[in-house]
Subunit: 360 residues, 2 copies
């Protein structure tokens, strides 16, 4: 087992990364109060709920559960309210803990609920997908979608502890494993060319779910994100780099409707568009773009999106949170493995990059 | 005009208190970004919306509005969502400002919306009731109700600036003025015996809406609360004293259904119950209880509540946020003008205090 600490002053917390982790031992020091609400979904709960519930009850805690339907399309205010209903029906109070057992959607919703319930209670994350292990377990971003935009409503809420157990990735569908690898590749592309070399060396073993290599990829990804988040918790600057591929990706997800494409799949194609635009701007070479496409393809991820009318695509991009005073900012690559956030790009070239990566 | 600064480090902000304040001049330094969403209600908007909208547009800002129905019963997740709808339909982004123009309900909802929209945008408060001027303009507590409890869902969100204009109290219904005076009296009872003397001297003029005396009462109340909040922003200790009368009051409000009784009315009767229990515990004298009842009555506030079955009353009290590990804590008076938070009270005496202050 490896342990990574996210350094956030008095909200510093550990991420435990390994296989067959013991939740009773690992969670005990981090559960405040006597009440624990496990929030999970209808896919994950049958697989892992009993394991965690038993372990936490063995610690003498009162455990209640809230099982939501599975899917990004349920990440809305109505389903958020079901968590509040469950907390209040169980009589939970302001020293309770909300534990998220599931992927990014469950983490975002349970985390946001824990931030708002009684104006803030404790939060623990047990991410069960590769994507949530490398992405939502660091950074404290929580929230829900709105029909007019993704993650438009939310809060910054840091967990007490995160348990990332590779054993749980065995049951993950192939598409979801690949979606997680998209975010892993993102860390390499935005700031760590050596990690890109490492991924090129090990991608086939990662796709084959080698647990030791997966743990190493999770550790390196989380360490990378933790360093950025520690410098810039509220996304005033550097943290925005983590959105490489996301502005394009959000447009794809929004147009297709949440849940059609996985978030990681949309980000993968978004990163290809960002790389392509970076090349058209003269910053990275055609070879760099090819290298980007190749590693993404080897992770079984799409490098083109379905045909989307350009006006719709641009409209969804304009709703992105990185719009500042009406001006779109993009995360692009100045060099392969070195991203920047900029509003200095040619909108015409951006349109070309979008059109060049759509299905005919 | 008087100015009071709430000292919260880098989130320090001013409260401007006076009559016929100029919003254009006073707000200009505090509006970030170019977009301002004014959230108001159907009672306040016809009276004051145009005044503020014109002033803010004169600063070159894009103003949009969201007018909610008036009343505590609309302080729910569905109506909160209308603010998010308005923000997204207007295309507002993360550097926008949400301005609350109204009483406590509007302040709580607009403040909570500003805390969650894009994970946090700017917030300005223009409280138009005496209650919200002395209560919700200091402390950063925002939120909504849930069918199972008041203010169960929310966030701590500090405003950039607060404008408390006594001129707007002219249009306030008598009951609401009195409800505001309940919170004013609360500050005297919980920690300032000299302020109680002052209120006994001026209560008739306050009820008659003398603007100079009202401004002084608002200033002293806010200063009192600001000092407590600066010491204890997240309500770990001293801040809980501000809940004098509130645990009893919440039970009254919850039983009657939100909106039947005004919050201040319920708190008034709750303070009488707290004083009575403090006397039964042997801490304050029978004369102190009479003095408490007298000042509350002079403010045209109720000192008994409608008949409520004891089990229901206790059940609602048990849902209070001050329940810690299943134990009810109450704010009581060790001396008149000196409150404490304690779980060391006799539950039987508490029942007697409740029953003694219900209508036959």
């Amino acid at each position: 087992m490896q342990t990574l600490y996210v350094e956030l002053g008095d909200r510093r917390y550990p991420i435990f990364i390994g296989s067959d982790l013991n939740p009773q031992t690992l969670l005990e020091p981090y559960i405040q109060g006597k009440q624990v609400m496990i929030v999970s979904n209808s896919t994950v709960a049958p697989l892992y709920l009993e394991h965690y519930q038993t372990a936490i009850e063995a610690l003498g805690k009162q455990v209640a559960t809230c099982i939501l339907p599975d899917g990004e399309k349920y990440k809305d205010i109505q389903h958020l309210n079901l968590i509040f209903d469950a907390l209040l029906e169980a009589g939970f109070n302001r020293d309770c803990t909300v534990l998220a057992l599931g992927g990014g959607v469950i983490g975002d919703m349970a985390g946001f609920a824990s931030a708002c319930f009684q104006r803030g209670v404790y939060f623990i994350q047990v991410p069960t997908t590769l994507l949530s292990q490398v992405d939502s377990s660091v950074g404290g971003k929580t929230g829900i979608n709105h029909p007019l935009g993704k993650n438009m409503i939310g809060a910054f809420q840091q967990p007490q502890v995160v348990l990332a157990d590779m054993s749980q990735l065995k049951t993950l569908p192939d598409r979801e494993l690949s979606a997680g690898l998209a975010e892993v590749i993102k860390y390499a592309l935005l700031g760590d060319i050596e990690f890109l070399d490492w991924l090129e060396q090990h991608m086939d073993a990662l796709v084959a779910r080698d647990p030791v290599l997966l743990a190493e990829a999770v550790y390196r990804s989380c360490a990378h994100k933790a360093r950025i988040v520690a410098n810039d918790e509220k996304e005033q600057g550097e943290r925005a780099l983590l959105n490489l591929g996301h502005t394009f990706g959000h447009a794809i997800e929004s147009y297709l409707g949440y849940g059609e494409w996985l978030h990681g799949e949309a980000v993968a194609t978004g990163m290809v568009m960002a790389a392509d635009l970076s090349h058209r701007m003269g910053w990275i070479s055609a070879d760099d773009v090819e290298r980007t496409k190749r590693i993404i393809s080897r992770a079984q991820l799409p490098i083109v999106c379905p045909k989307i009318p350009l006006d719709d695509f641009l409209g969804f991009m304009a709703h992105d949170k990185k719009v500042l005073n009406g001006q779109l900012r993009l995360v692009l690559m100045q060099r392969l493995g070195q991203a920047i956030i900029t509003r200095e790009f040619d909108p015409e070239l951006m349109k070309q990059s979008i059109l060049a990566h759509q299905a005919a």
